[in-house]
Subunit: 255 residues, 2 copies
């Protein structure tokens, strides 16, 4: 009998035990808003996204690249950064702005999760906007799955956990799995909130923050299940996110 596939959810990047990602496929989730924005940026024509931890580092990297082919994007405290081309709203990333550009992106929570996921053998980037495309990649892959939620400023985030739970639900349907307690909690969250996705995003702490800042549209954008069929994937040397697989056989959203 084949061994059950390991499916683990880590509700924060800091909760991934050291060394645990070796030989695995990781999924990075920051629904509000970094991973949603990355999917939008690549769908709109960006050739790559370079995740960078600090604002100064982002500025330096962008300066070293050819003008007109680089976009500087990101946020601090949810707000755009002075002098940057773009903030962290998915819908700012239009085809006109993005075509053939490299996006240098620095965000409070998502970047940290991406950098942590770089320790995995393969790392995918997920939002609700590309849910089914990511699910299909995870089914084709045979490695253990580690889903890493970005959270918000070190606190667990409902919206990230909900998406992680939808993936757990899908993987449980696909075959025998061995779950950690984080995966079970995420699955529970999906069971309760999956049918009221937009409502859940609105009541979450991250959603409430965005509404306070006037970014209601970003919440609605993040809740568009399967708007895109592409799966961003982490590449190395230099560390960047590019379009990996493209295509969805069918929608796997069950609620």
């Amino acid at each position: 009998m084949a061994e059950d596939r390991e499916v683990q959810v880590h509700l924060l990047p800091s909760l991934v035990p050291p060394g645990q990602l070796t030989g695995t496929v990781a999924v990075v989730i920051d629904v509000l808003r970094a991973t949603t924005t990355i999917v939008h940026a690549l769908a709109a024509g960006c050739v790559a996204v370079r995740p960078v931890a600090e604002i100064d580092e982002a500025r330096k990297l962008a300066d070293s690249m050819r003008a007109g082919r680089v976009l500087l994007g990101g946020e601090r405290g949810g707000k755009p950064v002075d002098g940057f081309d773009l903030g962290n709203s998915p819908r700012e990333y239009t085809a006109k702005r993005c075509r053939n550009a490299t996006l240098v992106l620095t965000t409070t929570n998502g970047t940290q999760a991406l950098l942590r996921a770089a320790e995995a053998e393969r790392a995918l980037v997920a939002g609700f906007v590309n849910f089914s495309a990511v699910c299909e990649q995870l089914r084709q892959d045979t490695r253990p799955v580690h889903i890493i939620c970005a959270g918000t400023d070190g606190a667990i985030a409902l919206e990230d956990t909900l998406l992680a739970g939808a993936m757990v639900d899908h993987l449980c349907d696909a075959g025998e799995v061995c779950l950690n307690d984080g995966a079970r909690l995420a699955w529970d969250c999906y069971e309760t909130h999956g049918r009221v996705l937009l409502g859940a995003l609105e009541i979450s702490q991250g959603g409430a923050n965005l509404r306070r800042l006037g970014y209601d549209d970003d919440i609605r954008a993040a809740a568009q299940i399967d708007q895109f069929a592409l799966v961003p994937e982490l590449r190395r040397d230099p560390l960047r996110v590019e379009v990996g697989a493209v295509g969805i056989v069918k929608s796997h959203w069950q609620k």
Copy 2:
């Protein structure tokens, strides 16, 4: 209109933001097994439980106390500690052993959560075994509630989250509340697993560990809802847990 009562769940002691417990009532949960064991020990006649982080510190403290009136208890890796009087199995704490004794207790996860909770104005100790008694104390109190889950070796624990969720459910019935995302996840966990409590404890990572070590009885003991009507409460100078309130008006378990 009165402000909504804050009810927060922290899925690990390390996830409590610094300074956040000031002026609050905290609840410490380590279902498998420290807080379950503390309730058993006090119900069996211990006059106080002294939580201690390290084994050596526990030995020194016990040595400084009068022989015959002190019990040295605890575990490392789930197993009893060499030379200690008792391990961390609730049912070892019999009336014959406990009457009038002070228990010096050191456990891997529960002790850390208790020490963290000492920053709150008031701190209660909860297991499923005294669920309704704790609920009644929380309803009588008017302070913000912070529920601190011990987890297992730095990982989130299903069984702690489930009990936290049952308390969230109760507090939501009792009046208007303002929840953090951790509280929502815990509530979801209770919604899904509350009706199959023993099963949930058995599939949890902590439960699986205990079964591997042959402690199946401890899991069943931890799942005895409302076996006791007492609420252990943290006291200071020196830091210790003693019986606070006693009594249950009715069972508040809803599943």
